[in-house]
Structures are given as structure tokens and as C-alpha cells.
Amino acid sequence: MERNIQKNGLVNLLVMLGVGVAGFAVARYSQSLAGQVSSLFVGLGVLVAAVSWFQMRLAEREQLEKFELEELARGHDRSALFEAREADLFPAQRSREQFDRFFVPIFTILLGLIEAGSAWLLWRWLAKSPAAAAVVASVKDPFLAMSMFGVFFLLLFILGKFAATIARLEDHRLLRPGAGLLMLCAYLSLAVAIGIAFVEGGFPRADFYVAAVLCGLLALVAAETLVVLVLEIYRPRVKGRVGRPLYESRLVGLLGQPESLITTAAHAVDYQFGFKVSETWVYRFLERAVLWLVPLQIAALLISTSFVIIQPGEQGLLERFGRQVEGRTLLEAGPHLTWPWPIDKVYRFRAEQIQSFNVGFAPDPAREREPVVLWTVAHTKEENFLIANRDARQQGAAAEAAGKRTPPVSLLTVSIPVQFQITNLVSWAYGNEDAAALLQNMATREVVRYLAGVNLDDLMSQGRGAASAELRDRVQAASDGRQLGARIISVGLQDLHPPVKVAPDYEKVLGAQQSRQAKILAAQAEAIRTNALAEAQATNRINRATADRRATEMRGLAQASLFTNQIPSYAAAPAVYAQRAYLLTFARATANARKYLWLATNTHDVIQFDLQESLAKDLLRDVTVPAPKSK
């Protein structure tokens, strides 16, 4: 019985169309990247199935035309029949030939370009998706998505298997491309469902990876289509031999029938080893057992989810059908038995790990390696905080009177790393959607509030240590108030300085303070010197006076004593004694003096002295030599 494959083609087309639309809707709804990419494969399948179906119709018309002509030929005169031109006699055949000659190559070119363009655009789209940027992307309503893609798999698989079997057994070449794509789309639906299951099972990027693999596959199919097009030009045409449809992908056919992959692999292995490996018992066992080995593996995978090992430093939250399990809510480090997924699920947290966040700055990796941290150079992406300025508050009234209103605040840049540890995982995980972000917000709020009430100069000098402790207490109190279940380990005032723009002026103040101190110290040094010298000079003067006093006293005594002895001598020979004393004294006193002696007496002399040094006018005036006593 001749089967009407046109109906099969139409069913294939409609089912693919339906699955394509539904699959795309489900994928968009669940935000599954792989689901959306697989929808494109189904869309390509729809195109191919539509062209195949159209070709089937043309082929059927051609067959009908031949049959009718044969019937006519049997009832009429043959010569009269063949008087007409062949083109007029076989319009359906001609239409089919025209379709094969022009439409199919053009369609195949377009198909290849669509595949290549889609692969390129999808790859870029995936690269820009949040999942590519390592942001944890979740699939919305995963159970619905999995079940829907499971249904698509079953539907496409049953239909594809049926179409492929008919195409193989009855050699319907036009049914093959659609059947191959149905099978491929069935497997892709299964892959999408498995990818979503992995996402739900704790591998959030599984869906992204499946989508990336599908993109690569699409690129391969596009390359194959384009290569086939080129080879078609050089293909030898044998009359009466019908070739494969140009748009039929061998790669799709291969992937759509994995068992053919096994056969191909067996042939390759046989060829490589030189004997029939495929006839060994191991190979035959594997071939027979593959049907139950795969489900067994899946079952083993499911059972393996019953064994959970919580690593040191970790804690796990156990949920059974989404509920906390009484007495076993928190799983500590070590092995644990649970019901298999999806009954029990364990969510792991690195609870004992010391975590940290930053307040007031965002680290700049480019500048983090700089060995010197200066106020005048921005070393992070800094944020300015308002700080109450008491001086400015006092100056505010004067400035306001002058018509210039500047808020009585200063600006400060702070870098505060906060370290914390989770102490109550249940509160941490179930209380807030993002407890770490909330803790960071609360810490920032405490910093803003604290800075709004302190004095800039106090904070930057002696108040720094106290500020750190105060902030830690405040952040801890805020965390406890919200029952976050965290312990604040430290709040470090790592960097605290005026904004970069005014920092040089602050440094100048420090410089001026140093200069002031230097001047004072120099003056103190000079004062010490002055006072020490004065003290020495005073001591010197007193000592000299003491010495003078002693000399005066001693000289007085000595002179008195000498005089006492001189009196008798003088009395005994007054003139001689006086002359002797004079001459002795004169000789002793003038021994070192330069002497000019003038001896002429009888001339009027003009005397010129060139003594180089001015002489005292009364040099000789007061020197009177006792007149010599006349003898």
C-alpha cells in the first residue's frame, strides 16, 4: 500500500510549528537561555519541514500526472497524444523540476545564511547575558520549564522516530530532513530540561553552558550547509539517480539518530583495529545495555544526591519539600544522609569564613599595587562624607551676614573595611533576601551618622581609635536589631583624610605647624646660648672683680710695706734715692719703647716727625722729670 507521506510532512510541520511557539514562550517565561536557543532550531525545522512538504506535494502531483497520462495513453491513439509538446503534457513535472533547480538552491543558501547569522547573533547575545558575566542567573519556575521541555521531548521524539522509520523503510527521501530535525529538536529539548535540572541542583551556569553548546552546534550546521552548497556545484549528475535534498543536513541526521553514531563508531573502530571489535561480547553487551545503563546512571545520579558532605568551614540548610526539617535544619561539617532531589535540598553557606565589605570606597585594582598611599592622590574610588564643622558653624553667622551661605560642614574621605562572620545561618539566610547587602547598608548608615556628629580635627587625630571601636559597636547593634545573625569582627578606619582636592592645604597646615615649631626651637636654642654666654660673662666679670679686689688689696699692702722700707732710704739720701729710683724706672719702662733723641741746641730747627701713628698730644706734657739737684 502506498503511504501518503504528504500528510506526514504536514503533521511534522504543524507539530514543529506548535512546539516552536510553545517552546519559545516557555523559554522566555522561564528565562532559559538554552530553551530560547533550542527554539531557533525548531524554527529552522519548521522552515525545512515546510519546504519538504511543498516538495512532497509537487512530487505527488507529478506522480498523479504520470498516472493520468498513462491512463490516457491506454485509451487514446498514441500518435495523437504525442503530437503535443512535452512541456504542455507534463506541467507538474516541469513545476517540480523548476522548483528543484531554482527554489531549492536559493532556499538552501538562505538557510545557511540564517543559520550562520543566527549562530553569530546568538553567540553575542549570550556573551552579553548576565550568566556570561558570572552573575548567578536563575531559571524562573524551573519545574514548569522542565516538565514542558520534557513533554516537547516526548512529542518530538515519538513523531520524529515514526517519521524517520517510515523514511528509512519506504525510502522517502523528502521525509528525512524533517524527521532528522524532529529527532534533533527532541534531544535538544531533553538537553534543555537537563540543563534546567542542573541549575536547580546547584549549578547556576548549566543553562548558559547548554545554550553555548547549542550555538556552537548551529554554527557547525551552518558551515556544513554552506560546504554542501559548494560541493553541489561539482557533484556528478547521473541520469535517473535522485540525490539527497540539498537542504538536508547529514550532521543533523547523524545527531538525530544517536544509534547511527554508534554504528559509525563501530565501523571506525573495526577499521582501526583490523578486526571486528563490534562483534566482541563487551561491545555487544554495551550496545544491548545502553538502554538501561543510561537510566541506571540517572538513577545513580539521583541517589547520589542523598549523600551530602558539608566541607569544613561550611554549614548547610536542609529543606524537605521547601520546609525546614525539624531537628536537622542546620547541617554541620561532615557527611549527611538526605532524601534524593527534589525531595530534600541542601543549601550550603561558608558560614565560618570571615567575610568583608568596604564602606566609603570601591577598591581600584589598577592603583592597589602602588606602594605609597598619599592624601593628595586618589588611590581608590573615593566617596565624600559630610562631617559637622564646629568652626564653620561659628563662622556661619558672619558669612551669612555677608550674604554668602555655605553649609557649616566639611567633607571627609574614609576607607572603612568591615569584617564579619555569620553566627546564625538560619537568621542570615531566611531573614533577608540579601543579608550581606543589608549589613553593608546598615554599616554605611552608621558611618554617615557617626561622622555627622564628630569634629573633623578630633577624628583625624586622637579620636581615631575610639571611632573605630564606637563604629564597630554601632554596626553590631544595628545588625542585632535586625537579627541578621552576624558578628562584626572589625571596623577599620584604614584611611581617613580630607578630600584629594583640599588635601594639599591640609598638608601645608602641617608644614606650617612644623615651621612654627622649628622657629620656636631655633629661638629656644638661641636663648639658651645667649643666657649661657651671659652667665659665663657675668661669672667672668665677678671673678675679674674678685681678682682685682684681691690685687688692689695685696698691692695696697705690698706698696705700704715697700713704702715703709723706702722711707728710711729716702730720708738717708733723698736726691740720690729719687734719681736712682727715677733712672731705674725709666730704664725699665722705656726698654721696649722706640726712642728718638734730639741733641742739637744752637740752631732753630724744623723738626718733622713721621710717626705713622698719631701720638697723643700730651705725650710728654705730663712727664716731668725731677730736676736734678745741684751738687
Binding site: L144, M442, S515
Partner: protein, 307 residues
Amino acid sequence: MKRNSLTLTIGALLILIVVLLLFMFQVRKSEVAVITTFGKPTRQIMDPGAYLKWPWPIQNVHKFDQRAQNFEAKLTEGQTADSFNLLTSVYVGWRITQPKDFFPKFAGNPDPIAEAERVLDRLVGNAKAAVISKHPLGDFLAPAGGGNKFAEIENEVLAAVRQDLRSQSYGVEIEFLGIKKLGLPEPVTQQVFERMTSERQVLISKSQFEGEAEAQKIRSEAERKAADMLSDADSEAMRIRARGEAQALQSLAIFQKNPELATFIFRLNALESSLKEKSVLILDQSIPPFDLFRWAATNISTRAEAR
């Protein structure tokens, strides 16, 4: 036959799994769910557990996170009661309390939570602007207990937002709110920078001239002290010398025994003392002992001897 039964079993198992997945769903402890029947919300689930439903497209499950959501509202500019422009941003904690009310208002959006936060952001923005305009800048920037009303302002904003929410029945509740950022508009920031620079200039000048003045004071003090010391020393020296003179005076009585001789000796002493340094003397032959030249080595004496 055996192979077929295995295939059938696996197929049946797969169908069973698919059916279970279609008819069952789980709600986690951290979630709430709304069940829609043909798009209409018909049931809300607040407790965790496994539940049954009709398969899609009859019934659909919409799950939402029921934990406290936390978002930071936009940084907005407002004016305080004393007419200062102030930039503020707050963080807000909110929670879905009535999923059935929440769903129709926000679930049409691809990200209902983000959409709800956009709505809340607008409400918070309005309430914040209204509250800030009632407070002077000093209420934000003052020491704790010295006029700082940070917490009061937060509570006022929270109360205002809660009141707005009550009238809207969004199915959400604001749990907490805190001021996260305080800032100034860019032109005002520049003015603050200028004022901070001027303050520093004042301090620089103060340090410079205070140092100068202090140094001068120290030097002056040291010089005065030195002068005091020297004058004290001089007076002391004078007193010492006076004592010496007084002591020496006691021996003057001895000189009075022969005043002529004493005067002569003193003159000799004076002559000797005055010629101690480098001196030049111009003497004629009348001064002893050079008067010897008059008798022994002159022409006069030679001629006289010849006559």
C-alpha cells in the same frame, strides 16, 4: 520482548516524572506563591511545602521571595528648612505580605520585585523630600545628643511611606528605612572645598606668625635675662672692687708718712705703667739720662776744651 518491556517501563517512568512535575510544585521557606487559574489569582500560599495544582495552562504558579528585600533609593536633592540643598539617599527594607494583592499589580512585569522597588522608590522619594524640608541642616549634622535627629528623621520618612502604602494595598510592607548617604550638590561642594581651603590658610598664617612671635618672645626673654645677669654681675663686681678699694685704703695712711716720696713713687709707677704698651718717645738731651750727651759727646764740650 524483554527489551520492549524495559523500554516501556522507562517510558512510563519518564511520563510519570513529567506528570508529577506538571501537577506538583514546591514552595520554599523563603518563598510565597500565588496560583492563577486561567490567569486569575485564585490561591496564595504563605507556608513552605509541596502542593498540587492543575497543569499549565490551566493553573500556573508564581513564586515570590518573601524575605525582606533591600534596595537603595535614588540619591535625590532636597531643601532643608533653613534653605540648604542636601542630597540624600536611603535604603529600604520591604517584604511581600499579601502575594494575592502583590501579584496583579506587579507580576505583569518581567521582574516584579524590581518593578515594586521602582514604585516604592517613588513613594520614598516623595516622603523623604517632605520630611527633609521640615528639618534644618543642623538636625542632620550635629553630635549625638547635641541636636542630631537622624533617627527621628528616618522614623518620620518611614511613617510617611507606610501611610502611603496603607492606602494603596500593594501587598507589601516597609520594614525598615535608613539614611545611607548625605551629600551636597556639586557647586556647593566646590564652595565647601573653598571654605575648607580658606580655613587651612587661616591656620597656616596662624602657625607662621605665632611661630615668629613666639620665637621673638623667647629671644627677647633670653636677652633680658642675659642683660639682667650681666648687670647683676657688674654690680657685684663693683661691690667686690669697692671692698678691695676699701681694704687698700687702709694702707694709704702709711703713705701719709712721707707724701712727697709717695707722690714721687706713684708718678714713677704711673710712668712705668703708661709705657708698658708699644710707645714712641722723642727725647732731647735735657731729659735724664740723655742729658749725659750734653757733657760728654757734643761739640760744645769739645770746643770748650780746646779754648
